[in-house]
């Protein structure tokens, strides 16, 4: 079971002091938060992608590449990578590069994005959002698995003889989670490919997303990747921890109740009706265990704990408490409760082993530049020697 944190990099005035972080400060703070998460032994740090203020992470691979250099163990991921407004070719290239520099400590979560103007800003139509996400991922999936891709779709310029470089590390693509809270087609796509499915389990009544997760599990089994309870499920969550329950509620209340979408709401009502988890370490542990009861054994739990205008010092304390008092207990509990045969979330190491066993992983080495990829099966030296490339001869 993996436990980690995710951030969307939002900026808002602190309701207690009125202080607003500059973008420069927020970016530095995100880096500090990721480093601390690594130091306290959390498993995952995931960063969102946004293209409008007050969010800073427009370029997650740049920031994650830097964080990769500063961290040792933690898996870097996204929450989410926009599968609609980005070019899937550029996603293939950027994240393969990031996977190399992070030495495999990378997976990603793909999603649609729901900020209406972002679509037209990038020349896309939000009414085609689901189709865009599905088709773009279909292409991304092939770009990471086939050296040379011929491709034709509805939304993007066709490709003939295209090779996405660099090839994934060890020729093993990063594991992909499909994030969704309402779209059965996204659950279907995750199930079809045997990828992970992630429901951001916040801002909705308890277990509101269970029907969608259950659909993914059934279809995962339908497509022959394993039984329904072996499907790879992740959940988002929001938490605030203090040693004493009442201190957590009191410290968190102004941040929660001043946040635009929660104005007029009582924190206690949301604590009762939604998955938000505010309280002592034991209360957080108990509530997260109810997620397992509701959704079944799952593989990844991420917490959002640096948003809602919280000061970075508070966010860092949250990470300390999560890493020292909550996650160690949850790991033990999840391990002891997990049904036999339920796998861990795939990692680069497990995917390499699954693909190669004890053999050495493929290390693609390009052929000398011949100016195109159209005329052979592979631009790499280890292409099948029985297939001879026919190069056009110019006299």
């Amino acid at each position: 079971m993996q436990f980690g944190i995710f951030s969307v990099g939002d900026i808002a005035p602190d309701p207690l002091t009125g202080y607003t972080y500059s973008e420069a400060e927020r970016i530095d703070n995100i880096i500090r938060i990721a480093q601390r998460a690594d130091e306290v032994g959390l498993d995952v740090f995931a960063l969102g992608e946004h293209h409008n203020p007050p969010f800073v992470p427009s370029s997650p691979t740049t920031l994650l590449g830097h964080i990769a250099a500063l961290t040792k163990r933690i898996i870097l991921s996204t929450s989410v990578t926009l599968m609609t407004t980005n070019d899937p070719v550029k996603i293939a290239e950027d994240y393969a590069m990031l996977q190399h520099v992070a030495k495999g400590r990378l997976d990603l979560m793909v999603g649609r994005g729901n900020t209406v103007p972002v679509y037209p800003w990038f020349g896309k139509d939000i009414r085609q959002g689901v189709a865009l996400a599905l088709e773009n991922y279909n292409l991304l999936h092939r770009l990471w698995r086939e050296d040379v891709v011929d491709w034709e779709g509805k939304f993007r310029t066709s490709l003939q003889g295209f090779t996405s470089t660099p090839r994934p590390l060890d020729d093993v693509p990063p594991f992909v989670w499909h994030g969704s809270i309402r779209t059965p087609e996204i659950a279907e796509q995750a199930a079809y490919y045997g990828n992970g499915f992630f429901a951001n389990h916040i801002l909705a009544p308890n277990f509101a997303f269970k029907p969608l997760v259950d659909l993914y599990r059934r279809r995962f089994e339908h497509y022959g990747h394993g039984t329904a309870d072996q499907a790879i499920v992740g959940l988002g969550g929001m938490s605030f921890i203090a040693r004493r329950s009442q201190d957590a509620v009191e410290a968190f209340r102004p941040y929660f109740e001043h946040y635009p979408i929660f104005r007029g709401s009582r924190l206690e009502d949301h604590m009762a009706a939604t998955p938000i988890t505010v309280g002592s370490p034991q209360e957080v542990i108990d509530k997260v265990l109810t997620f397992r009861e509701g959704f079944g054994d799952y593989q990844r739990q991420l917490f959002a704990l640096d948003g809602l205008a919280l000061p970075v010092e508070t966010a860092l304390e949250q990470i300390e408490l999560l890493g020292s008092e909550v996650v160690p207990v949850l790991r033990k509990e999840f391990d002891s409760l997990r049904a036999p045969g339920v796998p861990e979330a795939p990692t680069h190491a497990s995917l390499v082993t699954a693909k190669y066993g004890d053999a050495a992983p493929r290390q693609p080495r390009p052929n000398p530049n011949r100016g195109d990829n159209l005329s052979g099966v592979s631009p790499y030296q280890d292409s099948d020697p029985s297939v001879r490339a026919q190069f056009p001869v110019i006299v």
Partner: protein
């Protein structure tokens, strides 16, 4: 408030009342409509139970749900009452020449497919007969969007109508229309037979959403795109 008849109810009628006073003339109106509908159904051998959803006591929670997206227990309960009803009676006061904001706020919270093919009596009360068209101008398009089956007769009560036998006759006419629709079985046939052709919110509150896979067409264009862009299953070799 709910009135349960002695017999086992065969039809459930949900009343949505957006009146805010106590007593409220809108509530008086919807009670009267409900009573006549039950009586007329009873004459046809159909017993019915009426469940009234008063919006005023949950007005603040309706507003919170609009902003946060999270319905409170009471709001969720109101939505579920509507979802499980066989027919409904919608009553709103007219404010500023339009339906009440409270009524529209509640309508904004319900799933688009919650009321598909449910027979509905649309009713409003107002301080002047000049607003009588509000029912047809505003409530009827709203229920058309929701793909409910509003009965042909719209009901409106201005102050002078409370002293007019014509109001009683119009109520009877609308109640009869609702009763005929219910007795015909057409609403259920439309919803059952046509369910997959409407857009649905997966795992939503609509009564047929209990078995979510029933709403899904795995052979739709998007579903086939989801599965790697496979062709239609009919085109696949055996």
């Amino acid at each position: 408030m709910s009135e349960t008849l002695d017999q086992e109810p065969m039809a459930t009628i949900a009343v949505v009342n957006a009146g805010v006073s106590d007593p409220s003339s809108t509530r008086l109106f919807t009670d009267r409509i409900a009573q006549r509908t039950v009586a007329i159904l009873s004459e046809a051998g159909i017993s019915a139970a009426v469940r009234t959803i008063d919006l005023a006591p949950i007005a603040v929670e309706i507003a919170q749900a609009l902003v946060s997206g999270v319905p409170s227990e009471k709001v969720q309960d109101a939505i579920e009452r509507l979802a499980s009803a066989d027919a409904l009676i919608a009553g709103t006061p007219v404010y500023k020449a339009g339906i009440s904001g409270l009524f529209k706020s509640f309508a904004d919270l319900i799933d688009d497919d919650l009321l598909i093919a449910k027979p509905a009596i649309l009713a409003a009360t107002g301080g002047s007969a000049r607003h009588a068209m509000v029912v047809d101008d505003q409530l009827r398009p709203l229920f058309a969007f929701l793909r409910a089956l509003p009965v042909p007769t719209s009901l409106y009560a201005a102050p002078e109508d409370w002293g007019s036998t014509d109001l009683g006759r119009r109520i009877d006419r609308a109640a009869t229309e609702l009763a005929v629709l219910l007795r015909s079985g057409a609403p259920r046939d439309i919803a059952d037979g046509n369910w997959a052709r409407y857009q649905h919110r997966f795992g939503g509150n609509a009564s047929r959403a209990g078995k979510p896979d029933a709403d899904l067409d795995f052979d739709s264009e998007l579903m086939r795109l989801a599965a790697g862009g496979r062709p239609r299953s009919t085109a696949e070799p055996d």
